[in-house]
Symmetry: C2
Amino acid sequence: MNATATIQKTVPAKSPAEILWNLARKDMAAVDAIILEKMQSPVGLIPNLAQHLVGAGGKRLRPLLTVSTAALCGYEGVNHHKLAAAVEFIHSATLLHDDVVDESALRRGKKPANLIWGNSASILVGDFLFARAFNLMVETGSMEALGILSNASSVIAEGEVQQLAALRDLQMSEDAYMAVIQAKTAALFAASTEVAPVIAERPTEERDALRDYGLKLGLAFQLVDDALDYGGLESALGKSVGDDFREGKMTLPVIRALQTASEEETAFWRRVIVDHNQEPVDLEIAVSYLRKAGALQSTMDLARQKSREAREALAIFKPSPWRDTLAELADFVVDRIS
Amino acid sequence: MNATATIQKTVPAKSPAEILWNLARKDMAAVDAIILEKMQSPVGLIPNLAQHLVGAGGKRLRPLLTVSTAALCGYEGVNHHKLAAAVEFIHSATLLHDDVVDESALRRGKKPANLIWGNSASILVGDFLFARAFNLMVETGSMEALGILSNASSVIAEGEVQQLAALRDLQMSEDAYMAVIQAKTAALFAASTEVAPVIAERPTEERDALRDYGLKLGLAFQLVDDALDYGGLESALGKSVGDDFREGKMTLPVIRALQTASEEETAFWRRVIVDHNQEPVDLEIAVSYLRKAGALQSTMDLARQKSREAREALAIFKPSPWRDTLAELADFVVDRIS
């Protein structure tokens, strides 16, 4: 499962995400308007499919980061709206392609686009949104922002290919796993927060700090996502769990569980992951092995550590509602489930 | 079938393509080196798959156009090499995605990448090459070139989606067909020739002329390709024909044949295209109907007209080996088969 289902537009009062949304309400309305405008096309299938994914229900976490960090940097222009929309388009393009690659059954709680319009449409509309992201970046005139986001885009694709190559590979190391989630998820978070100090022409140390904040936040986010795919620390298995398991995707919980697995348990993992021979009951067995090994707990612990590092990266900024809420967001990304 | 298999690196002596290759030999070696460098990645699957498609055997027609038009414009820098490589990467990315969309059996005479490494790898490596194209453009520092190529990229995707939506649609008009081939094929030809006067800082009229040359050349190229998919004007059916027919793709020969089709012929086209109910013998029947209607001849006539328009667009330039060979290339694109 890729990192998606987290912060909702309507969250219980006073969550940091809601506070950020309220602070950035006008900016996010401007971003939404750009997203809506730029996904239009005389080819009707494009806005129809894009609307399904991008138009409504998205959490817009990455664009929210771009406009919030731009505010933190005192940016007063309008290019952060275009860059935020570009970031959301890049993210949406990867989701459309991921759905085809992963054969996902659900995306943001809805049927994924490829199961409605077909794989071909998802591939090509993904390409369209990706190209439109670059149109938007060109409009800003910021070659530095273009460099950051085009580099992130090739790193994302690299991470996705690396993950694909490691599918069903029981030997995957923690280092390889961390490299994959840094590339496929954290790189875009980092880019979405790094472009803000760049267009605000802030000093290098603020640029480094905000890139670091985004990177660590993205790592925490994906670690939590990977724990959530096995139900996280809650006892009951929710509805949208087990995607990674069914796909034979190697994530940190499984890698950690394998480190202390008995022979019988190793044989189990080999059957379900390598041989891809699964019975419906196997997900429950997998979760029991993960819990026994403390693998979900240790994955969440690492997420919490990355979240702390994200918070610490903001220390160079003076206290402000923007800084403080971005710091709390780092905790929220982890606490949302445990 | 998408526009690909045309000019070969080794052609009979004195073809315009060979003359251009000889004139641009040093430039093309520099482009090749950039292509090879930029398709590298620590994720081994990426260079392996990219090598299969990009590394060898490609005709490099689009990058050849970029470096040749840059020479025509008297450009003396090195950015045309990067832009030429970027153009080839964009083209390669669309080929990788097209193979998944079209379910092609052959690509450049070889098994397509998706039948060797799978659809997922082709989708993701396509994304990687597309992102790397933008990395290269950023390196040139030319925001105008970025604007031209990012715009072409979204237009290509739009054209591909429009073509997908028109699949098996017997009502597709000639205008809709021309819009599709302009978007999916000619837009990248036009961009590959327009970026040259832009980086050479030539006057607007040269930029307009070279964009027009590329556009018309691209239209001629795709029209010939679509005629070739039914064997062109030759009597014997070659090996790689019938892809469009089998996919139910509406191309100009079929659109033209339908205009004068008898009831029986219309019923045939409805069965093979709309109902997608085909017997092996149907391709031969289709070709006989196309010939009877003069549809292959009239498609080739239109290609020749576009080729003439491409040649005429070069008239504002003084005679030179570059100009004259580019003009001859326009004829060659059509004459290669008839």
